[in-house]
Symmetry: C2
Subunit: 314 residues, 2 copies
């Protein structure tokens, strides 16, 4: 880990794609990612960390770009067999994917912390950046719906994020401690970037770890957040509807309000240029650029804009 | 389940091959198998029941005949990936195999007992016989070696059953209860057969459940055991060396001594014909036949001999 890293808070597909841009702009060895584990799930006894895996698979280039998760071209012999045998296998697992989960689950069952397993997986996959789970403790995102509370993957995958979200909480967060390296990565950072991930379900679970939130609030480095909301919509996933149903504004101004006191700059899309003044009223500098990550060049351009805003010359 | 079944105690490859013969001689629907679970193991968090699986795979015809376990022609993409990622994956798991373990593990984690999962797997695989684990409770075979105690699969697979066995015990057996149907299958049986499985590690874990042993000792049906030892050797696996290192005789007479009071007849191989008298001195009738299950016809012939000895006309 670089002793004065660029520290990126990330979760989900948007975060992983943004990181692809980041490592084109600065050396990957300078980058520390603090990843969301609120989505973690144990289908059939396997420990899956979807957001960490999406970072791993995206940065190795293995990712299925169309789906945004899983390994491109992966087979699903095991899952199909499980279904044939009557399993309620609603969480898709490719065969290669299962291999990674077997490796992780075995290590966790031996007592290895998630951060150590993740570091080994990243190293074996040839990643030069440092990928840290926010915490090694159990932290799970719980979604409130009209039918009651459900775990995150039941909401997201099983029910296709079709429910109106009435509440979100992070089970275990109160007592969760930052994983080894997370506090240092925030304390010693040259710059902190909040990736264009869903603020409520990708970034908030990270910030729900009390010591992480406190360290970010007490930061000495500049913190630049990138809005995942463009023209009232999320480019992927349920962020816009979720913001609205929970009383936030589905706009960069709504995102800025969530990050108030934690971010110094908000990068927002040209389509939302008229909201820049409202973002600045919240005490944040607004940087207006094209934020749509339509291809590799666009990912790099967005990362460069965010890092420029953080004063990182590249 | 047939209301007066032919109940077979079985474990491992020999037991599964013998059962192939049994279902050629009598209707599969008349057969209840009480299977060994002392070998069960949880590699990477997946619950594997090797002896039950070997029965399932053998009777579906999916078995890899050369290995005696696993699905013929199965791929191992997941396991190879796990190894690439640094997992200590010494327990071989094919992709289709993993599918079965995913289905089982998911059901067990939902709180379903092993017997219910096993019944569903057997039904989905189209088996007409009834396959019962000896117990739904946790029971594990622990092997004593010069280096201390190790779990069964560490002894058998990881260390290639190369250690001299100094003790065998069945962790959890004292408080284990027979799985639903096991007591009835023994109590109401037309005949009970102990398959040519290793008496110490395939059959003894079943008999280590106190209520099973008591029910077998109190049987009204005849019980016929088939010796897995021929001419001082086991046809597969470490039975002979294990019998000797634990002070038994590696012969049908040694097997008869282990089953004394529990079996009424011992089927032994022609090569051991001269031991018939010693078997009979132990209070068991000796039936001498060719017991080598070299092909399907031989399996059927052996099953027919055992069932004939039990008075089952077929």
């Amino acid at each position: 880990m670089h002793d004065s890293p660029i520290t990126v808070l990330a979760g989900g597909v948007g975060g992983a794609r943004f990181l692809q841009g980041v490592v084109e702009v600065v050396p990957a060895a300078d980058v520390v990612v603090v990843g969301n584990v609120g989505d973690d799930v144990e289908p059939h006894g396997l420990h899956v960390s979807p957001d960490l895996d999406t970072v791993l698979y995206t940065l190795t280039g293995w990712i299925d770009e169309d789906k945004g998760w899983g390994v491109r071209g992966d087979s699903d012999r095991a899952l199909e067999q499980a279904r044939t045998l009557g399993a309620d296998a609603w969480f898709w697992l490719g065969d290669l994917d299962i291999g990674l989960h077997l490796a992780r689950t075995e290590a966790l069952r031996r007592g290895e912390p998630l951060s150590a397993v993740t570091a080994r997986l990243a190293q074996r996959l040839g990643l030069d950046l440092t990928l840290l789970p926010a915490t090694d403790d159990r932290l799970r995102t719980i979604i409130g719906t009209a039918q009651g509370e459900i775990d995150f993957q039941t909401y997201y995958v099983r029910r296709g994020h079709a429910d109106v979200v009435t509440s979100i909480r992070f089970d275990g967060a109160e007592t969760a401690r930052p994983a080894p390296g997370v506090t240092e990565a925030l304390r010693d950072a040259r710059a902190i970037v909040i990736a264009p991930s869903n603020p409520l379900i990708s970034i908030s679970p990270i910030l729900a770890v009390p010591a992480i939130r406190e360290q970010l609030a007490a930061r000495t480095a500049i913190c630049v957040a990138v809005s995942p909301i463009v023209a009232g919509r999320a480019l992927r996933g349920p962020a816009a509807a979720m913001l609205e149903s929970l009383g936030h504004e589905a706009s960069p101004a709504g995102v800025a309000a969530i990050y108030q006191g934690l971010a110094d700059v908000l990068v927002l899309d040209e389509q939302d240029a008229e909201l820049a003044a409202r973002v600045e009223q919240l005490g944040m500098r607004a940087v207006v650029v094209d934020t749509i990550m339509r291809d590799a060049a666009a990912r790099e351009r967005l990362a460069r804009a965010a890092l420029d805003a953080a004063g990182i010359a590249a």
